[in-house]
């Protein structure tokens, strides 16, 4: 008989639209992070390190890269005879075929999957945060408190609390009330979007609210459980936890990895982060290279100068090129004599020679100022930038561009140049 004490359901279907062109072809959990990882590696590694060996990954938006990355779960030791990792896309039914319309709706549509493992507890995770967390400790807390639902929370500065879902607790950590993005928060305990449910409670709540459009954990399921008198507890987490939902927070989280002793330390033996490694060879630094305060992935070839940057696997950086404060993802090629300032360059991009990125005065982005800001230059995957181009700040380039796209070989600050994808 199959029996798993706790299984995890990982919500990985979101687009992450605030990451702009980085997510135009891949779901946010599949976006590269920290040189060689992808965002989903963090919750998946947490699962296996916590002894959770059954994980359902719910995909919807642009799942190809995510599916390829997860495969049968070999990098995380999640290739199991019973359990392991299962990718769960939305599927057609006799009646009422629909996409996943909300976080809880996605879980609801996979009740059969969860039921097949006969679990006591179900752990709900989201695939877009960077953190290390032992879910087993959280489960111990859940059992000790006799909770029906435990919500992981972390203290945030009071002035930022209004951006989060806030939990109000008593001295025993029992949740007495909660507020979604309150104007005047009564507590600073923000929900991290990590829940442990008793399976019976979760199933009952999902079935009772099945008809709710856009069924959501924060908006519907948690309030339903609370209103029905189920004991809800808040598990306080004090480690590193970073939401990488915007380009600026994504950039910042990457830059934190290069501190001398980073707050989020990837170099600890204990609690390794696993990822699918396709590229094995060591990196090569040539006679003309200089690298300082940076991390660099396997197989990269560096002939230029790199300062304060995160460089992915298999990246090539040409001679006399200077890279500062930038993130360059896997297999991108940067030509010679370039200058890169605060650029986020996605995978498989080709940047020609004498290209200068992030030059001049800042100007607000003309199309999506809420996405492209803080002076960052963002370049989507498989883009091509021809030789000798100068690009300003708060800009975005996506697609194979040529000289005709750059009048006077120049793209001014605040411009968006999209030649690829659905919204070109």
């Amino acid at each position: 008989m199959i029996k798993k004490e706790m299984i995890a359901m990982l919500l990985a279907g979101g687009q992450g639209s605030r990451l702009g062109v980085l997510t135009s072809k891949v779901a946010k959990p599949a976006v590269s992070f920290g040189g060689k990882y992808r965002i989903i590696d963090f919750p998946l590694s947490n699962c296996i390190n916590s002894g959770v060996d059954t994980v359902g990954v719910l995909t919807q938006y642009q799942p190809l890269r995510l599916n390829t990355h997860i495969g049968i779960g070999i990098p995380w030791d999640l290739d199991r005879n019973i359990g392991g990792v299962t990718v769960l896309p939305p599927y057609e039914k006799i009646t009422n075929s629909e996409w996943y319309t909300g976080t809880a709706n996605a879980i609801y549509q996979n009740i059969d999957y969860m039921e097949s493992y006969n679990p006591e507890y179900v752990l709900i995770l989201s695939g877009d945060h960077i953190y290390k967390m032992d879910y087993e400790v959280m489960l111990d807390f859940h059992k000790e408190k006799g909770a029906d639902v435990t919500i992981a929370v972390m203290p945030v500065p009071m002035e930022e609390a209004k951006r989060f879902g806030i939990m109000i607790t008593d001295e025993d950590h029992k949740i007495t009330d909660f507020e979604e993005k309150p104007e005047h928060p009564r507590s600073n305990l923000a929900s991290m979007g990590i829940y442990i449910f008793n399976w019976k409670t979760l199933k009952e709540a999902l079935l009772a609210n099945a008809q709710q459009p856009g069924l959501d954990f924060g908006k519907h399921v948690i309030p339903y459980c609370h209103d029905n008198g189920k004991p809800l507890y808040a598990y306080e987490f004090n480690g590193y936890w970073k939401d990488v939902g915007t380009l600026h927070s994504y950039w910042e989280a990457n830059m934190e990895l290069i501190d001398i002793v980073p707050e989020f330390n990837l170099y600890e033996e204990y609690w390794k982060i696993y990822t699918k490694s396709e590229i094995l060879p060591p990196q090569y630094l040539s006679d003309t290279s200089f690298v300082e305060r940076s991390i660099i992935g396997e197989g990269a070839t560096i002939c230029g100068k790199v300062y304060n940057s995160v460089i992915g696997c298999g990246v090539t950086i040409g001679k006399d090129t200077v890279v500062r404060d930038s993130i360059i993802m896997n297999n991108t090629v940067i030509g010679e004599n370039c200058e890169l300032n605060k650029a986020i360059i996605a995978e498989n991009v080709v940047v020609g020679d004498e290209v200068r990125l992030g030059i001049g005065e800042e100007a607000e982005n003309e199309t999506d100022p809420h996405i492209y800001n803080n002076g960052i230059v963002t370049i989507g995957e498989k883009s091509v930038i021809p030789n000798g181009i100068t690009v300003g700040k708060n800009t975005c380039i996506f697609g194979k561009t040529d000289d005709s796209d750059y009048p006077e070989k120049f793209l001014a600050s605040g411009k968006t140049l999209i030649k690829e994808g659905d919204n070109k």
Binding site: K36, P282, Q283
Partner: protein
């Protein structure tokens, strides 16, 4: 597939000095993130050989650890797979492997229970890429009994630790000398053989009856006039690593762009066990020139013309030149290292000074390491 594979990985070599005191030569780390046996294993799998036996004997621990999961070389399959054979005491036999032929004789059932018509035998201490199918095709075309892969060495290379061969114009091997004091030819055997499985079984059984144990001495050399033994010339990169100098130079070859391009960029790939290490980190003070750096490494000092293996820590103000730093080495501040091979898991105290004069110095330094 038409062949099964055998990798001879039993050997120790006094020529490796201290480096082989804790591991088999085949487990020697190569080029930052590989081990020697990865090349033979990857060649096997890239030649679509599905069933491979590895014979190990000397200090097999490090090698077994590397081979513990065969999935990295694509061998974790229902059909075939990777078999590791260490000597074991049986009712008929209580000897160690007394030679390469004896190793095969003691595990004859592996050969007998296979159904593939051919066997590819390779040694695990060479760095090269090869499609064994090409040798097999040649073997069949020549109607050979045994095909030996050979390589012409440059005239200035001393070949006295290899087997040397002389071929006639049809590439049939007429002379075969093992470790000659004065070599008559600069064509050497690469230790890669193709032979029909039944033929091999027959010869191994014959050998065992006569208490002969060595594949080269007792089969190749004794049978060279009776059997049709052919040479197949290998022209691409090939190096045996079983001396300290060869080991050092092979690693240094990877600093050349053409060697990296051949092994790392061109099809097919070389596979190895994945270690899940974070990217290499360069702190302020790092200055790295013409060097290979592997993952998990943290650099605070100067590195020139060197190969840095995995999980190395290089302290502030260090100077490392023309050296090989093996896996998981901690190097304290202000250390000077030149012309050295630093053994894996070493802990080098701050302010140390190691320079190899005239030859490559092997540093084995086991100081206490305090890990926070």
């Amino acid at each position: 597939m038409r062949a099964i594979g055998i990798i001879l990985a039993g050997g120790n070599s006094y020529r490796m000095k201290e480096l082989s005191s804790k591991r088999a030569v085949c487990a020697m780390p190569i080029a930052g993130s590989y081990r020697s046996i990865d090349f033979a294993l990857s060649n096997m799998t890239n030649s679509h050989i599905q069933k491979v036996a590895v014979f190990t004997q000397y200090n097999a621990g490090s090698l077994n650890e590397h081979l513990i999961s065969s999935k990295w070389w694509n061998f974790g399959r229902k059909q075939g797979g990777l078999f590791t054979f260490t000597p074991s005491v049986t009712a008929e036999n209580n000897f160690w492997y007394r030679g390469t032929a004896d190793a095969m004789a003691q595990n004859l059932s592996f050969l007998k229970n296979s159904h593939e018509p051919y066997v590819v035998i390779a040694s695990g201490d060479c760095v090269y890429k090869m499609d064994y199918n090409k040798v097999l095709e040649y073997h069949v075309a020549k109607k050979a009994d045994i095909t030996v892969v050979c390589k012409d060495m440059p005239a200035n290379v001393n070949v006295d630790r290899f087997g040397t061969v002389k071929m006639n114009e049809e590439s049939r091997i007429e002379e075969f000398e093992e470790k000659p004091v004065v070599a008559k030819s600069n064509t050497i055997s690469c230790g890669i053989y193709v032979v029909r499985r039944r033929q091999l079984i027959e010869m191994i059984e014959k050998c065992a009856e006569e208490d002969r144990y060595d594949f080269v001495k007792d089969i190749l050399i004794r049978y060279k006039n009776m059997k049709r033994i052919y040479g197949y010339k290998l022209t691409d990169y090939w190096r045996n690593i079983a001396t300290v100098d060869d080991y050092f130079e092979t690693n240094m070859d990877f600093l050349k762009p053409e060697t990296r391009d051949y092994f790392f960029k061109q099809y097919p790939d070389i596979y190895s066990k994945v270690d899940d290490l974070p990217p290499a980190k360069y702190n302020p003070g790092a200055q790295v020139r013409n060097s290979l750096v592997s993952s998990g490494t943290i650099i605070n000092g100067t590195v020139e013309d060197s190969v840095i293996f995995k999980e190395t820590y290089i302290g502030n103000n260090c100077y490392i030149k023309n050296s090989i730093i093996l896996n998981d080495v901690y190097i304290g501040d202000n250390t000077h290292i030149e012309n050295c091979i630093i053994e894996s898991h070493d802990t080098i105290r701050a302010n140390s000074y190691y320079v190899g004069e005239n030859e490559i110095k092997i540093v084995v330094e086991r100081n206490d390491r305090y890990v926070i």
